[in-house]
């Protein structure tokens, strides 16, 4: 209750007093203290800190107001851009499957226009193009450009693979000189590939009764159930799209619903290659 409020109800005071006693008892329990220490050691041994996330130097509640100002600036800036030759492609693309409790990966630091970008964007109404092809409004990127591997390094840097898994098979599949793929689908392919490798781990661990590995894999799926992409839309604004990877709430059946038809020998790139 508000410590400065003189009109506290007796009932709430009793509730507060009982909580203080319970907290004191918990803190004074030596066995519990030892278990908490073990838990801390376990947590620090099994997870690792992420890189420092970008933090806004303001309370989050001010973000909508700032976003409105920025949107207005982008609209006005877009009007100016129509009358000026384009020199860059806006801020770089980012993607995330992070839940609210996790920081989004940092944008790739670039000095302006990405040399592997084509300046061509999909139509905002684009959707499914064929059985395994889809398109959206993001930029088409040159897969064979010498700087593209650096961009792929950046995308995969935001994702963790299970021990023993490698990005090499995916990187080989993306070695398509002269071909183009849209930025959103390039990101999505990395996220889906990582989900398949965690699916392999999950499936193997379940068979072997390795509950720690099952937990680790399920943690990945819960943190990456949805893939959010944000990048320039070619008109001075931002294009954002969300692709579901695994339906939530994530459980055994839903992992299987993703894993069985999408991974293994049937695994293929998503998005169109042109």
């Amino acid at each position: 209750m508000d410590r400065n409020d003189p009109g506290q109800d007796a009932d709430l005071r009793r509730l507060s007093g009982a909580a203080r006693v319970a907290d004191r008892d918990l803190a004074a329990d030596p066995e519990l203290r030892a278990l908490l220490d073990d838990l801390r050691d376990g947590v620090m041994a099994t997870a690792r800190p992420r890189r420092l996330a970008f933090r806004l130097p303001m309370p989050r509640r001010l973000v909508p107001a700032l976003a409105a100002v920025l949107t207005m600036a982008l609209i006005l800036g877009g009007g100016l851009a129509l009358r000026q030759p384009r020199t860059d492609h806006g801020t770089p693309a980012t993607s995330s499957t992070a839940p609210s409790t996790a920081p989004a990966p940092r944008p790739k630091p670039t000095g302006g226009r990405n040399s592997f970008g084509t300046g061509l964007y999909g139509a905002s109404h684009a959707g499914k193009l064929g059985p395994h092809e889809a398109a959206d409004a993001s930029e088409w990127l040159l897969l064979g450009h010498p700087e593209t591997p650096g961009y792929l390094d950046y995308i995969q840097g935001s994702l963790e693979l299970p021990p023993g898994a490698s990005w090499t098979p995916l990187r080989h599949r993306l070695l398509l000189p002269g071909k183009r793929m849209q930025a959103s689908f390039l990101h999505l392919n990395f996220f889906r590939y990582a989900a398949c490798r965690w699916g392999d781990t999950w499936s193997r661990a379940r068979k072997n009764g390795d509950t720690a590995a099952v937990d680790r894999a399920e943690r990945f799926f819960r943190g990456h159930a949805t893939h959010r992409f944000s990048g320039p839309d070619g008109r001075g604004g931002r294009f954002q799209v969300t692709y579901p990877i695994i339906r939530e709430p994530v459980d055994r059946d839903r992992i299987l619903q993703f894993y069985v038809p999408n991974c293994g020998e049937d695994w293929r790139l998503v998005g169109a290659v042109r």
């Binding site: 109800d9 909580a19 947590v43 509950t211």
Partner: protein, 173 residues
């Protein structure tokens, strides 16, 4: 920031606030031993995001914010068992200190019952003030709200709690 410094910061915050965070989780889970898995999740998230953890006492409010998110995710889906939490879960399951039945003995069972009838956001501000002893300004940080909004929400929640308690008095035994 060096890895050693990050580890030091995490260990310091854990030592200072882990019991309080456990109390926060125990009071909001049924059965209370489920708090062990949530505790493992809260501090796994906190360790991963330790670079974002603010220094000093703000770390306490930041941890409550993480705990609130974890609890909210837990309520939306089934609980995820943490192997790391096995022993803590077992300890909590046999600890008389954490069981909500204690409310019968400490005379707060009727307040808890009235609290349970309130909308979630009213219950949250009342619980943070009464159980966690937070001021309106501290709650504003945890809930990411304006302090004025918290104060008005708190005032409304108290009125509703008083009404719920009065309703209990009208129910014939």
């Amino acid at each position: 920031m060096s890895p050693d410094l990050l580890a030091h910061r995490f260990e310091h915050a854990y030592r200072a606030h882990s019991a309080a965070v456990l109390g926060y989780l125990v009071r909001r889970t049924e059965p209370p031993e489920d708090a062990a898995d949530l505790m493992a999740e809260v501090f796994t998230v906190a360790w991963r995001r330790v670079a974002d953890m603010p220094p000093g006492d703000e770390a306490r409010l930041w941890l409550y914010g993480v705990a609130r998110n974890v609890l909210s995710n837990h309520r939306r889906s089934r609980i995820r068992r943490h192997r790391l939490a096995d022993r803590l879960r077992e300890h909590l399951s046999r600890s008389p200190r954490v069981h909500h039945d204690d409310a019968r003995h400490d005379g707060t069972d009727h307040v808890r019952a009235a609290l349970a009838t309130l909308p979630e956001r009213d219950r949250e501000v009342i619980a943070l003030t009464a159980w966690e002893g937070m001021t309106a300004a501290e709650i504003a940080v945890v809930l990411d709200l304006d302090p004025g909004t918290v104060r008005s929400r708190l005032s409304r929640a108290r009125a509703r709690l008083r009404a719920a308690l009065a309703d209990q008095d009208r129910i014939p035994c």
